[in-house]
Amino acid sequence: MRHVRRFVWEIQGHGSRFSPSRPMCGTIHANENEAGQRGKAMQQAKWQQLEQLLGPKVVARKRSAEEWEQSGGGKYPEAGDVLNTQAGVWVVTRTAGADVHVYESVQELTPLELGLLRLVLQQKSGRAPAGATELERQTRQLGDWIGQCLSSGEWRAAIPERMELRLRLFDGMIPFLLIREQGESKEPSYADLDKALRSFMADDTLLIPLPDHEWLIMAPDRLLAEADEDETPSSNEGKSVLGSLASGLHQMVSGEWGGECHVAVGEPIDPVESIVHTVGILRETIQLGRKFHIGMQVHLPWLVHLERLLIGIPEPVRSRFVEEMIGRPDLFGDSETLSTLDAFFSMDCNVSETAKRLFIHRNTLLYRLDKIKQETGLDVRSFNDAVLVRILLLLYKVTKRK
């Protein structure tokens, strides 16, 4: 037992965790990789140590979530959950998507051994570092659950009652997803970021850490009314305020901690019912934004409908379409043409406003648009051609641009 106690202390001291890399998620710095490798090696050593301590009493196995449920286990198992099965006692060590990793008892475990084992596993999975507050532990627990639901494709899952944080969530919370692209050394601590967000938004704002430098921020929707105190904002005004809040949040976070970060915001939701779905949508929005709108850091789901549709078209079909439509393959390779068209579409095809935005004379812009017309036969000042060029431009960005 002395050995087990020492192990508990060591696990508490090194609250590291497995961290599967996020798909579609850009650059991973070399030092981040190295740190990840070191962390993994340390973690593996811990597992081996635990298995040695338990001796021949348990074996590590991988079960499916279906097996777990069929054997009488509840939905969404968590590390430390115990199940008595015909094959023996199963203690969940971790879950990954639809896989449930368990220690299966070969010999009977004493109640004390079982209790200590659960304690070790629960502390490990909570990811909360030593000295973390109860709130941080709860938010990390919820963050883990959201991550599991997303990786197993259960976007419609509702927050289970056993999640203590459920009581702090209420209908009408604005979801923000913040993704930071920095080495671990510059990552703000939970406590610092939480304090800044409460000061920035409201005291009942919740910061929920998700895997891999992602943070979900749930803020009360009264912020919308505070921004627009004289009247009830219309849907469009509401979206505009949400965009401003997201820009403000981005500016605050990057101004304080630096590094590249991306923010997406959604309309207010009932988190209990739709938090997983919302995180999935916001994550997808950021992925689309980063793919189609390089250089932008604030992404709004209601502005990437076309992008969402286009990304679903198989790559060979997209490439063929672009090649067939553009007479001159290098047309969009010219950065001036790209920035001109981007600005023209973002200013709703308004020539004067686009010229102002690009700091060029109106006639210079007209000359550039005429040149595009000459080379492609498409006049972006006519609606049908503009639609086509807009689609071509988006497709070009994901098929041709490196």
């Binding site: 650059t27 510059k186 800044a196 000061s199 920035f200 938004m201 912020l223 919308l224 505070e226 921004a227 627009d228 105190e229 004289d230 305020v241 401003s244 809040l245 820009s247 403000g248 981005h250 500016q251 605050m252 990057s254 101004g255 304080e256 901690w257 630096g258 590094g259 590249e260 950065s335 920035s339 700091f359 490196k402």
Partner: protein, 374 residues
Amino acid sequence: MAGVRLEHIFKKYPGSEAASVSDFHLDIQDKEFLVLVGPSGCGKSTTLRMIAGLEEISEGKLYIGDRVVNDVAPKDRDIAMVFQSYALYPHMNVYQNMAFGLKLRKFRKDEIDRRVREAARTLEIEHLLERKPKALSGGQRQRVALGRAIVREPQVFLMDEPLSNLDAKLRTQMRANISKLMKRLETTCIYVTHDQTEAMTMGDRIVVMKDGFIQQAATPEVLYNHPVNLFVAGFIGAPAMNMLEGQLVEEGGAVRFRATGVNVEVPQGKAAALRGKGYIGKEVILGVRPEDIHEEPVFIEASPNSIINASIEVSENLGHEMFLYLNGLGKENVIARVDGRSGLQEGQNVKLAIDMNKVHVFDKDSEQNVFEAE
């Protein structure tokens, strides 16, 4: 207060072959107002963002004061930033917007109040302190953004195109306000703009950038009168310097510049330099500022060796001055800036004279200013 030193700074993005900023090496003095200027994509904003800590530095050292800050988080660099897209926090009123940065740094309430009210007084926005950003005009929002930076009382101000969202009239007004404010605050300021008028009127010193490289760093007067290359010469000044491609020839003991419709004599001092550098007989580019082409009879009479004849294709009369777009000189239109009361008309043939003491000669291959090269 502190100076900023950039020591051979490079910025290279992963996957990109060329560096966005190359070998940027510059000492910015304490209390200096430095302007970074250049066309889109020249690396000026990237440089500023590296100083701010928003972008990592790929290579080189950055000092603020005596401290290397490459690995220091933006919040710990003692800088304040104002951007083009100044995102005011929409749910906070003006006072809260300005106070937020200090509140986050746990300043005492009375100190926050003192600083916010003082900055508001300086920016003349005291009457707006209770308003939300939505109820402000563009110019007022911009002043709040400035106020948010001022209350921090930083060692260095960083501003990235802070005026570009404003209309022309307001921009001119705010330009003067910022200049006055920075002089009063006596703080180092690094200011990015694409607008050379802003650069010329605000900067103690200007850094002209192109393709990630510094082209020239000098005072506005030096940049205007002694551009080191064709790019700087063309970028600084509006209307831009006229560039005439032609040949330098020796004729009757004098050096002459010949191009389509132009045959003018180079003054002795400049001629000697051209001879010494072996440019006689070579193709060069002659740079002439629009205001160095004169229509006054007195000047024409006194400059018999630099007379040109041209026809006026277009004339733009701004009242106090007039721009003449001239045909028949070189390959493109030549622009002359003359007195608004000269009475010259479109379509008219006109006799003018170039002030040859003020022209520049550029090497056609290297594009360097022959007179400024060491």
